[in-house]
């Protein structure tokens, strides 16, 4: 039975929660073997599209596995997402899913600040009742990320 829209929404939210908790295995488990992750944005300075991160599933797995060895941004990141649209293509058992996200940084003293704002453009595999992420394009609307982050959005 193809995955329902409720299951698709849960997949998106679960992906955010996994990254918030730095449960990287949990995040990767939501991704199909052919998963492609990208962070993209438009530069009005260059008047060009830019790619700020580009990994397949293995590359992303390796990247996430190295996070604990790095000197990372203090505090935690918290993603707030809302699924806006789910466009199902039943013939291909896929859906294009667009969600808005904001990512907050909560520092070690508990002070919140906005880290990034944008949209996830996801492709989701619907062929089973459990949907999987086939691709995620985390499309940034904001462009100044302060010191940046070792953990993707």
């Amino acid at each position: 039975m193809p995955a329902s829209n409720d299951a698709v929404r849960e997949l998106i939210y679960r992906s955010c929660r996994c990254l918030d908790l730095q449960d990287f295995d949990g995040y990767i488990a939501l991704c199909a073997p052919a998963f492609r992750y990208r962070i993209t944005l438009y530069s009005p300075e260059l008047r060009k599209e830019m790619i700020w991160l580009n990994h397949d599933r293995d590359g992303l797995t390796a990247l996430l596995a190295m996070v604990p060895r790095h000197l990372v941004r203090l505090g935690t990141l918290q993603r707030n997402a809302t699924v806006y649209t789910i466009d199902r293509n039943e013939a291909d058992s896929r859906a294009d899913v667009m969600s808005a996200f904001s990512v907050f940084n909560i520092d070690n003293e508990g002070r919140p600040s906005v880290f990034a704002v944008g949209h996830y453009h996801d492709t989701v595999d619907l062929s089973d009742d459990q949907p999987f992420l086939l691709s995620r394009n985390a499309r940034l609307a904001s462009r100044d990320l302060g010191i940046g982050s070792h953990i993707p959005i």
């Binding site: 530069s43 300075e45 790619i51 190295m66 790095h70 000197l71 100044d144 302060g146 940046g148």
Partner: protein, 396 residues
């Protein structure tokens, strides 16, 4: 001896003067404004690459020393720079970070300027009859502009020496690369961080902090002998670092770059740095080139601008490889620059309000290894321009 008392903490360290930096340089407001006047308003600033204004009438806006600038390519193909301030009542003329426009009309009273900075129209000019105000003498203020190997530099000081005199040959460590390669910017980001501008720039000159970065511990430090490194300081505060190597596959999850298409004249494992005084850095790593500038915002905040460059006309596949290589190290989600910004903010925490009294720059490895000679070169030039010794820059 283990911990220190107030007396031993505060006393001048038993080092030669030039081997420690007073913490006042990071938090004193008078020093901060002197830096704008004596350094940032006097030096040549890298502002953009010519590929950002490739077509006739292309423009970019930016700012240096708190002065807003428009860099634009005129009908004659020449790149010129103007202060982005209307001659009429001082409004900002161009709003967008980049674009293409034959003329720029100020939003306020519609004075219009062309790409040579001339005021070409003002509505109802007869109102100025007899005052001497007319479009002929109301052009934009032009700023000295020179282009070196495709890199556009400006200087706010009309009396400054020529660009080549300022560079003093420091960019020549790329002379096998830059004159032969037609480059193009594919990555641009700007980021405000909570740190004095010098604290960030020092991370680039300070090789000893390689220990902070996992990637440098894994890929760079073991890849070549410390004795093969060559750090050179120039009379005007620029530093070059050559002889660095990297084995990229030593970082878990990365592959080697041995077959990758490099910049002309570079090997895939080659790394070289040219941090120019005060805060603009050119770096190559075999397949990629990054150019950064750091600008003061306040004594406790700075703006980093970072660019990644590839070869013009390269295949889509090569460009993607270059983007990936750039991002691995240097993007906002990369493994290196994020940590340098972390370091600068970590120093701001202690220097910002004066808890840290000084920093030690006393490593002497004869310009090899992780020598502090580059830092001393930077600070010597800072002192010369500021008229203040960096070990004791204030009277307190």
């Amino acid at each position: 001896m283990s911990s220190r008392s107030a007396e031993t903490w505060e006393q001048t360290p038993p080092l030669p003067e030039g081997h420690y930096v007073s913490g006042r340089v990071y938090n004193d407001e008078e020093i901060f404004s002197d830096e704008r006047e004596h350094i940032f308003k006097k030096i040549w600033h890298f502002v953009c690459h010519e590929s950002e204004v490739a077509e006739i009438f292309d423009f970019r806006t930016t700012e240096r020393a708190d002065v807003p600038l428009i860099v634009t390519r005129g009908e004659d193909g020449r790149i010129r720079t103007f202060i982005n301030v209307c001659s009429h009542r001082g409004a900002r003329v161009v709003m967008e970070p980049g674009g293409n426009a034959r003329t720029h009309t100020c939003f306020y009273h519609h004075w219009t300027y062309d790409t040579q900075g001339s005021c070409v129209s003002m509505p109802r000019p007869e109102g100025y009859d007899g005052t001497g105000v007319c479009k002929e003498n109301m052009g934009l203020r032009e700023v000295k502009t020179e282009v070196k190997w495709g890199f556009v530099f400006v200087n706010l000081d009309d009396e400054s020496p020529l660009l080549d005199e300022y560079l003093d040959g420091a960019l020549d460590i790329f002379d096998q690369v830059l004159p032969k390669a037609e480059l193009e910017v594919f990555h641009y980001h700007r980021a405000e961080i909570d740190a004095n501008w010098k604290a960030y720039q020092e991370t680039i000159v300070d090789l000893y902090h390689e220990f902070m970065h996992v990637i440098l511990r894994d890929t760079q430090m073991p890849a070549a002998s410390m004795d093969d490194r060559e750090m050179r300081t120039y009379a005007n505060g620029h530093v070059t670092i050559a002889g660095l190597k990297a084995d990229y596959d030593k970082y878990e999850g990365w592959t080697d770059r041995n077959d990758a298409s490099c910049f002309p004249g570079l090997d895939p494992d080659d790394a070289r740095f040219a941090p120019l005084f005060p805060a603009q850095t050119f770096i190559t790593r075999g397949t990629v080139m990054r150019v950064d500038t750091v600008q003061p915002i306040t004594a406790h905040k700075c703006l980093i601008e970072s660019r990644g460059l590839g070869l013009k006309g390269e295949s889509e596949e090569e460009r993607m490889m270059r983007i990936d290589h750039h991002n691995e190290y240097w993007g906002p989600f990369g493994r290196n620059v994020t940590e340098d910004a972390f370091a600068a903010e970590g120093c701001e925490f202690s220097f910002g309000k004066g808890a840290a009294l000084r920093g030690i720059i006393a490593r002497d490895e004869g310009g090899k290894g992780q020598c502090d000679s580059g830092l001393r070169g930077f600070w010597t030039e800072w002192s010369r321009r500021m008229g203040r010794p960096f070990s004791h820059p204030t009277n307190d």
